[in-house]
Symmetry: C2
Subunit: 184 residues, 2 copies
């Protein structure tokens, strides 16, 4: 294991902190580690029907460009991840899902962040709001799953959670792990 | 797009920075964004033969536990990603690869980091050093690819780059995109 010796500096954002620690490695050597303390997050792979995925186009400040992703967001304090997934789907797309199932939970940036993203798949979608979060989302796009897999393989889509959502949904489908009534 | 209004605070680590900015959203609203300026990184899915993957067990300070992952690391200043991948493979495992091919490049934490991880697959491995980086790596493990896919599906492995490396290698293989002489 690695033990903290002391925190050298710390940055407080609204929903998380970043801190630089001096740590003692298992060999005794001293080094520095950045650690981001991040709330858990949820993402949703939303099926409009058996073939088509509902996606969001949004500006990403950290990479200074617009991307095409599955809906996602951080959990509010005390909010469970399923509630978070439903809320983000509604806020970002205006849709409610009749069926929502867990697909995969993972660490996106294990080297410097404790963030966990729980990915769900959703189906039985109904539009319940005509508006979406215009601060965050430029527009909705409907992308056939086969085309989405091509956009990933050809490198057009580079967002980790979207890649993992599609890949693990397919893996679970191949293993018969998607309930028969999921698309009903 | 989103424009920076000003930087509120900044944290300098050895190889990257984290900063909290006030930004103006496309709607005119003002909010805060964390942005980590991170060097590019490389990861390697190393095949000992057609069936077995060479993996590393290491302590992850950000999540305070040991994990099983594919070898990976940040590029040194000026270092290209292929050189970085070969160096990390050698440092973390002691192996040199005769064949190394790009598999996928992605953004692991698009919401707050500009990090890009370029994943390679490697084969034709030869052990050229008996030691590996004992500061970072607890031990090497050889994991059959089929078992690795099970460890992912069952949630034992939660490291994003390992999941994407395996998933995209499989997708490229299914599309005939892995060169016939890769394992030769």
């Amino acid at each position: 294991m690695e033990e903290k010796v002391r925190t050298l500096s710390k940055l407080f954002a609204n929903h998380f902190t970043a801190q630089l620690d001096t740590v003692r490695l298992r060999t005794g050597k001293i080094t520095e580690r950045l650690k981001i303390d991040h709330p858990e997050a949820a993402a949703v792979l939303p099926f409009l029907d058996t073939e088509n995925i509902l996606m969001v186009r949004q500006w990403r400040y950290a990479i200074a460009r617009e991307t095409l992703e599955i809906p996602a967001g951080k959990a509010d304090p005390g909010e469970d991840l399923l509630t978070c997934a439903r809320r983000e789907l509604l806020e970002e797309t205006g849709y409610h899902a009749r069926h929502i199932i867990p697909i995969f939970s993972y660490h996106p940036a294990i080297g410097y962040s404790n963030e966990v993203i729980q990915i769900y798949a959703a189906a039985g979608l109904t539009r319940v709001s005509e508006t979406q979060d215009v601060d965050e989302i430029s527009r909705l796009e409907i992308v056939p799953l086969a085309q989405l897999q091509d956009l990933i393989r050809t490198g057009v889509i580079s967002d980790g959670k979207t890649v993992i959502g599609v890949s693990l949904f397919r893996a679970r489908q191949a293993h018969g792990e998607i309930p028969a009534d999921f698309f009903a």
